[in-house]
Symmetry: C2
């Protein structure tokens, strides 16, 4: 799996940082980017010299394959700052592995491990003034790869650009989240690309999500495409259910993204004696559990929000409300454990933090 390459990272710094002009208290997610970006082009069968340059628009042909065939994959990760100004990544090895797994499924060449980590660390270090300390603040890091061949034949590109851009972030989901359980639309097929962070998976969810939003639901929980019987995941989050005192989450498959937050929460549950089952969950099971009062919590888990408690779900035109979250809720307890590890406020016994 591991691969390395040996060109030297080239660096061009901005003349003047824009950081002092940013109002960090009023920041829409993903619209403001830091001073620099990382990129590395693939051509003639090899990844070329990696570079860090001032953040800037790019020039690309209208025939670039990414525009026509969606040959693109991405990652989402965060850098955190503690009160002493130390900067940490959270399990970046997982994101590196996953972007290459996604890339392989989309016929994109894998990116060298040393370029990924050197690029990421150098970039975050150069732009660390953009990371606000304090739990809830972070720098969202977006590695991605796009097919840039100027050719519209429906076949894999011969040239690619790998990039990392960075956006200062606060909590991603605001307020309570009500969800609609999918009964008609679906997110991915068995044998398809649902397990990959493939660009096209996301646009495919926009319209059904918009329909849900028009009816007062922020997110859709996807079910299996054939029978809409089993609960799978949300648009950008895996999902956990608490019935009585047991957490349950669906197993990973080729339709479900193997979330870093999900796998970390499964471990944290074990570390904290919270029973957690990884097994298929029927919609009917949570409907029944809601009716008999044993369904205590549902929450989404993903890098953006860490944990998003869900306050209600709709299925077959019935709305099921969930109990209010309090400090004893698993969602509250696990979220603060995760945040404390990420922000260097708690012991990291699983070795998940990487200091920059």
């Amino acid at each position: 799996m591991s691969n390395t390459a040996n060109a030297k990272l080239q660096i061009e710094k901005v003349k003047e940082s824009r950081v002092s002009s940013i109002d960090f208290s009023d920041l829409a997610f993903g619209k403001t980017f830091t001073d620099h970006m990382f990129y590395c082009d693939y051509k003639n069968g090899a990844w070329q010299e990696p570079k860090i340059v001032p953040y800037q628009p790019m020039t690309i042909d209208p025939s670039a394959r990414v525009f026509h065939y969606g040959q693109a994959v991405f990652e989402g990760m965060k850098a955190y700052k503690d009160d002493n100004g130390k900067v940490f990544l959270f399990r970046p090895d997982q994101n590196f592995k996953r972007i290459n797994k996604s890339a392989a499924r989309l016929a994109i060449p894998e990116f060298p491990e040393n370029y990924f980590f050197e690029g990421l660390k150098t970039l975050v270090n150069m732009d660390k003034a953009w990371i606000q300390p304090g739990v809830g603040n972070s720098l969202y890091l977006r590695p991605f790869v796009i097919a840039i061949d100027s050719a519209i034949a429906a076949a894999p590109s011969e040239s690619y650009r790998f990039m990392i851009i960075c956006a200062p972030a606060k909590a991603y989901y605001k307020g309570t989240v009500r969800v609609l359980i999918a009964e008609k639309f679906s997110r991915s097929a068995s044998g398809g690309v649902g397990f990959a962070k493939a660009a096209g998976n996301y646009a495919a969810q926009f319209y059904p999500t918009k329909l849900a939003q028009d009816r007062g639901y922020q997110q859709v929980i996807w079910t299996d495409a054939d029978t809409h019987t089993y609960l799978e995941e949300a648009g950008t989050m895996n999902v956990f259910f608490r019935i009585n005192d047991t957490l349950i989450t669906a197993p990973i498959s080729d339709r479900i993204l193997d979330g870093v937050t999900r796998k970390s929460l499964i471990q944290l549950a074990a570390d904290n004696d919270i029973p957690c089952e990884v097994r298929p969950i029927k919609v009917s099971e949570i409907v029944e559990a809601s009716k008999d009062g044993s369904l205590k919590e549902i929450f989404g888990a993903g890098t953006a929000a860490v944990i998003s408690p869900i306050s209600a779900f709709e299925f077959q035109e019935q709305v099921y409300e969930l109990p209010e979250v309090n400090e004893h809720s698993y969602s509250s307890r696990l979220k603060s454990k995760m945040l404390n590890i990420q922000h260097n406020l708690a012991e990291d016994k699983n070795g998940w933090r990487m200091e920059i």
Copy 2:
């Protein structure tokens, strides 16, 4: 369905055409583009002024949503020239309807009908020197829409670019086509975006198609994602089967693209007393028909190649060879009927040609 807008088309011509420098006898598909391109931006809730400008690269932010979430749709159509230099489109109304159907599923605003046709006709007319006369030659037209917001939140873009670029084309598939019938990978899910020309549908096929190619098959024929029991379509073609004297093609569903070639062939079959059934087809049915000698032909149908005869298929590690194509084959007969209509060499009793 129909919608119109009323800004005037702005035109900026090239100083000098590149057409005389092109070797039309040696042209790779989709790598050479004509002198001009059409574009129109959507912002502040409306499509802005449509423009035709010299073909050129574009400037776009690395955070553009198309790169991250694959929010993009496209069309593929052709312009043909007859021996008197008249230029025709083939059923462009179908492509217009389909791009807006694709757009709606991807939460992209629909494009105005008058902008589409005025842009298309004016552009083809300006670049008609790029269309070679003669059956088999054409100008491939690629309308497409991409999400261009500089923002990486996973939600529909607020700004888009609609473009049309044009590439001179010869026959797309060369030689005989051997196909692998999908048993593990799949192209689309029920409730998904398979019926749309969504960018991400195509990249998702690259890897499985590459695996097939490594084993000597040019294309994959996709089956239903759940059971791999029913034949659906190929990567960029619908598929027809001839058993004895009857043509059979799968019905359209939300997993299958409603091909213009497919629907035209169904009509041409009716016009020419060729029995044609539109119904689900099991893989086992064609395997049996191949064994007992009643399977006479399989061919793909799409704008690029019109008709691509298939010479063999593999399923469950068995290879089934098909009889050789001759001039009595349905594929030969229907292909020449289509080409003759497209190139103004035959009567157009269904009113499919649109002269420019």
